[in-house]
């Protein structure tokens, strides 16, 4: 098994499948009366969060606690290089505390990579800047597999602000590793230059959501921040919603079996309408549930051996 989980690209098909299979076993255990397992007793997991993300932190915390690890929450929000301790000094502190794993959320892309150079324990990237969020991709893949029965050969559309999305990057990498076909959809201003060669030679890019919808098994809507409007990525939220938002009319273009995903938090009325978010196709609540099992699997696979 790998030492760190910094990028979805760290996982080849075999390892990624192992994570999903392990998560499936752990999901069975979570339905029983005693949910706690002794597996990581005596191990210390530090949640090092430089950004607010209650849902991700709680998910990791629940995962670590169900495996009996000691959890230390280190909220470093507001910290920066200019005020307070540097990332390196924090790393040395965690090292001295004997952290076996550091789960890190950070506004700067690549911060987990830096951290991994300074600590002996495992580093899990819980979202870094506009780079990656590999456990989100794993739980999304897990959700798709449990809803649709497979990943290989699925066609997944990832729609919205791909440029600034760590979820999109990790999902493209993981899904293509697992044999799915991915199309990123959005206004050209929000699709990174050279995204295809950067992430996967098979990645497809489309600017036309209506044309893509009838062909996909999964449509994953990304959060679009209203502030992007001020940077002229698109003219107005109304125009964005009209061209790239998923409403009931658009949802009808999807094949019967297709599912709608969203990594949350949603901007209802912007990229997705409430009717779609709450429809039977939506997996949004399942994604949250599956997050705990997937994160347990990751922690077990990183920390469960020598």
């Amino acid at each position: 098994m790998i030492k760190h989980l910094l990028s979805a690209a760290d996982l080849d098909a075999e390892h990624a499948t192992l994570v999903l299979d392990t998560a499936a076993e752990l999901a069975n255990l979570s339905s029983r009366e005693v949910k706690k397992l002794p597996t990581l007793r005596g191990r210390t997991v530090v949640n090092l969060f430089y950004e607010d993300s209650t849902r991700t932190r709680i998910s990791f915390e629940a995962a670590a606690k169900r495996l009996s690890a000691d959890v230390i929450n280190f909220s470093a929000k507001g910290s920066s290089v200019s005020k307070g301790e540097s990332l390196k000094d924090t790393a040395l502190t965690l090292q001295a505390m004997g952290a076996d794993a550091v789960v890190v959320r950070h506004p700067a892309s690549g911060a987990p990579h830096r951290l991994a150079q300074w600590v002996d324990g495992s580093v899990v990237n819980a979202g870094d800047g506009t780079h990656e969020h590999p456990t989100q991709a794993l739980l999304d893949a897990y959700t798709m597999r449990s809803r649709l029965g497979r990943l290989a050969g699925l066609h997944v559309a990832i729609v919205g602000d791909v440029l600034h999305s760590r979820v999109a990057r990790s999902n493209v990498l993981l899904l293509t590793t697992l044999g799915a076909k991915v199309t990123v959809v959005g206004p050209p201003t929000l699709i990174p230059v050279d995204v295809g060669p950067a992430l996967s030679p098979d990645l497809r890019v489309s600017y036309d959501l209506d044309a893509v919808l009838p062909e996909v098994d999964v449509v994953m809507m990304l959060r679009v921040q209203r502030e992007r409007m001020n940077d002229s990525y698109f003219p107005s939220t109304r125009e964005y919603a009209r061209r790239y938002g998923l409403d009931v009319a658009r949802m009808r273009r999807l094949p019967e079996h297709a599912i709608v995903m969203h990594p949350g938090p949603m901007v209802r009325g912007m990229e997705i309408t409430p009717e779609v978010a709450d429809s039977a196709r939506s997996t949004i609540v399942e994604q949250v549930t599956n997050g705990v099992s997937v994160r347990m699997a990751v922690l077990y696979l990183l920390l469960g051996g020598k």
Partner: protein, 196 residues
Amino acid sequence: MAYAQAASSSTTPGSPPAVKLILNETDLQRVVDRIAHQILEKTDGAEATVLLGIPTRGVPLARRLAARIAAFEGVEVPVGVLDVTLYRDDLRLKATRALGPTDLPPGGIDGRRVILVDDVLFSGRTVRAALDALSDLGRPSSVQLAVIVDRGHRELPIRADYVGKNIPTARTEVVKVTLAEIDGTDEVRLVGEETK
């Protein structure tokens, strides 16, 4: 699987380990039959009994025992699978292990007599882990243990209720059980210390 492969890879450099056949296919069948009879005797005809196989090779063994019990007395004993990986105390000594499935029979284990089934009893640590796992899953009325081979060298106060064969071994030797369902053949062999 790894054990079986290691046994057949006698072409690797270094002197090949000494291999001694302990049980052949017929012997193994006889042992399973005997344990099945013993279980029937000691459990009043497998009354309120559940067989739980410990992966990997305990699982087909539990199924075989259930099949023999059914053949002898027409009793259907529920069979399940109990993976103990998450309860092991030696996780940190080896690379991370993949989890096996845990699958309890529909009736569960509460108030039942659970018979754990494994291939080899050695240190007793796997059984210890299984007991911990069981207590998280429910409350059996009693727990028993059936193994094909007891090779000694216990590190915990644990003993089997049903033993196919006691084999005196040196600590460095390896007992290899192969089963048709997994490995293609039914055999138990004692392999000497492997020299590298």
